[in-house]
């Protein structure tokens, strides 16, 4: 009995240490964002700001196009999340329910498409977008990110749909639904937690990208939060408080999204990735 109660402390001990590791960078980011520029460069540094100020936030929000970047990032990331999840669910359903020939090859092909390095694709993809008139538009970026996240979404949602008993679709078809109708009305609501998991994944990927956005957009009107931040790190000066204020703002949406949906995320991963 004694041995057991000793074991009980171990998880807490581990978790507290891990939480410190996880939290310190956040604290540092937040604390720096409240410092004056001078204090941020002090030797030795201060852990918490001596005279906290919101000046950096003011600078970022009022004096740059950050609100615009924020909107762009949101549209692009949400678009990617929705598109890749919807297409992924369609494909997942197809792979899960229909045993057509060449299925394994197709899955292999979809998974293998993840192996192509982005640096290689971005130049020619850009040329293509210009030809079809989608350069510097939201859809152009959303398509690009969707292809990156699609393999994961498809595979996750296939796993999830595998766990849904096939009798459900059959019952729907007896009630007069078409195959697509059954998918839209019966399957989609049931796999909602799995879709949440893939959506968060896709959202984060699109939200955090720099290379594609850098190359595929032009001007301030289409820039995203990460691109805006990278422009703050210029050759000419790095203003850490502003940069960290920008980082706080940039981290907020994924953070909030995750906090709101964390139950569905874990539930979705459990069903999608674990069950066979």
């Amino acid at each position: 009995m004694k041995r057991r109660s000793g074991y009980r402390i171990v998880p807490y001990f581990i978790l507290i240490i891990v939480c410190l590791y996880n939290i310190v960078p956040f604290v540092w980011m937040f604390s720096t964002s409240l410092k004056t520029e001078k204090e941020a460069y002090k030797i030795p540094p201060t852990f918490l700001p001596k005279e906290p100020t919101l000046e950096s936030y003011d600078q970022i929000i009022v004096w740059t196009s950050f609100p615009r970047y924020f909107l762009n990032s949101t549209i692009i990331s949400l678009g990617t999340a929705l598109l890749s999840t919807f297409i992924g669910a369609l494909a997942g359903y197809g792979f899960s329910r229909f045993h057509f020939s060449g299925r394994a090859t197709l899955i292999g092909f979809i998974l293998a498409s993840q192996m192509l390095p982005g640096v290689l694709l971005v130049g020619p993809y850009f040329k293509m977008l210009v030809k079809i008139g989608l350069y510097n538009t939201y859809p152009g970026l959303i398509f690009a990110f969707t292809t990156i996240t699609l393999p994961f979404s498809t595979w996750m949602l296939k796993g999830f749909i595998d766990t849904v008993p096939e009798e459900l679709d059959q019952a729907a078809k007896v009630d007069g639904c078409s195959t697509l109708g059954a998918f839209l009305r019966i399957i989609l609501p049931v796999i909602a937690p799995g879709m949440v998991a893939t959506m968060i994944f896709a959202f984060l990927l699109a939200w955090g990208d720099l290379l594609w956005v850098l190359v595929l957009t032009s001007g301030d009107a289409m820039a995203t939060v990460t691109l805006g931040l990278s422009r703050l790190v210029t050759q000419f000066r790095i203003i850490w408080p502003q940069l960290m204020a920008g980082s706080v703002i940039a981290t907020l949406p994924p953070l909030v999204l995750y906090m709101l949906l964390q139950n569905s995320l874990v539930k979705g991963l459990t069903a999608g990735a674990v069950k066979e």
């Binding site: 581990i14 130049g123 398509f143 980082s247 999204l257």
Partner: protein, 301 residues
């Protein structure tokens, strides 16, 4: 994005007369089209480029880029750095992820709180985590040296990102911070799916926690571990933003991973053809490495 959606919904009209096989294929079609349309042209262009002479207007077939590659010590160096980076980050993601997942799976108070904190770093884009860590590692104004000096662990300003011996470990440490939570949730999801009865039975037999872990947890998790390993390996291979923002490959070439080296040749030196050859090699390598995983998944379906 709408054309594809509307295309897939329109076929519901014809749904009935279609064979089941064709129906299944139609469900998969948007996904395939998307990948083919977006990736097809870039891939073909890259391969053609990789066999063209460098800086030339005319495209004639030559293998000189690949031959040059074999003799480029910086290419081999970047392969080595990539290998170290990928192997150590993936390994640490899994070790730490497993420890935290097991801890979170225990009966705990404040479980939701701990779980919330444990996943937090995953929500930070890697470009931004590169920036945060770069500032934390700053020798004179960064928090890390400050804490070490305050606690008496060192008297010197340690140059985390400026020393060839410390730079990779420092980058790996920063990457693990951001990367392990995702592996952790996948593993946690796997842990929660293990039937409780298995543990209860073992406990009746008087098994220790460690025996339980080896004989119940690990075998049950095997499949999910392999999947997490494979996904993580692919993603780590492609990692770019973190090192781009932390060191740009320096000091020297000690943190120059392959994706960064390709980027430099493509966008800084404008050696498109040479960069394409490297990227083709990188893709082939990744496919070879992940072949067992792809086969495992496709065999199961």
């Amino acid at each position: 994005m709408n054309p594809i959606i509307s295309e897939s919904s329109s076929f519901s009209i014809f749904a009935r007369p279609l064979s089941k096989k064709l129906q299944g294929f139609l469900f998969v079609l948007p996904c395939l089209l998307m990948l083919l349309l977006v990736l097809g042209f870039p891939v073909v262009t890259a391969i053609v480029n990789s066999f063209s002479p460098i800086w030339s207007e005319v495209k004639t077939f030559t293998a000189e880029n690949y031959i040059k590659l074999l003799r480029d010590e910086l290419f081999w160096n970047s392969l080595k750095v990539t290998f170290i980076f990928v192997v150590s980050t993936v390994f640490l993601h899994h070790v730490l992820g497993m420890i935290v997942a097991v801890a979170l799976n225990a009966e705990l108070r404040a479980k939701r709180f701990f779980r919330l904190i444990a996943i937090l770093p995953w929500t930070v884009p890697d470009v931004i985590s590169g920036l945060i860590w770069r500032f934390m590692y700053n020798p004179t104004s960064g928090i890390i040296n400050y804490l070490l000096i305050r606690s008496g662990a060192t008297e010197q300003y340690i140059e985390w990102l400026a020393s060839p011996n410390l730079v990779l470990p420092s980058i790996i440490f920063a990457d693990v911070w951001r990367g392990y939570p995702f592996v952790m949730i996948i593993l946690l999801a796997g842990l929660q799916a293990i039937p409780r009865e298995q543990y209860e039975a073992a406990r009746v037999d008087g098994a220790s926690r460690i025996q339980e872990f080896i004989h119940i947890t690990i075998p049950n998790l095997m499949r999910i571990i392999i999947i997490a390993l494979a996904l993580d390996t692919i993603w780590q291979f492609r990692r770019f933003g973190l090192i781009y923002n932390m060191t740009l490959g320096g000091p020297g070439h000690t943190s120059e991973i392959l994706s960064l080296y390709i980027y430099k040749h493509y966008f800084k030196y404008l050696n498109f053809e040479y960069a394409s050859a490297m990227a083709v090699v990188m893709a082939v390598l990744m496919i070879i490495i992940s072949l067992p995983y792809i086969r495992m998944i496709t065999r199961k379906v």
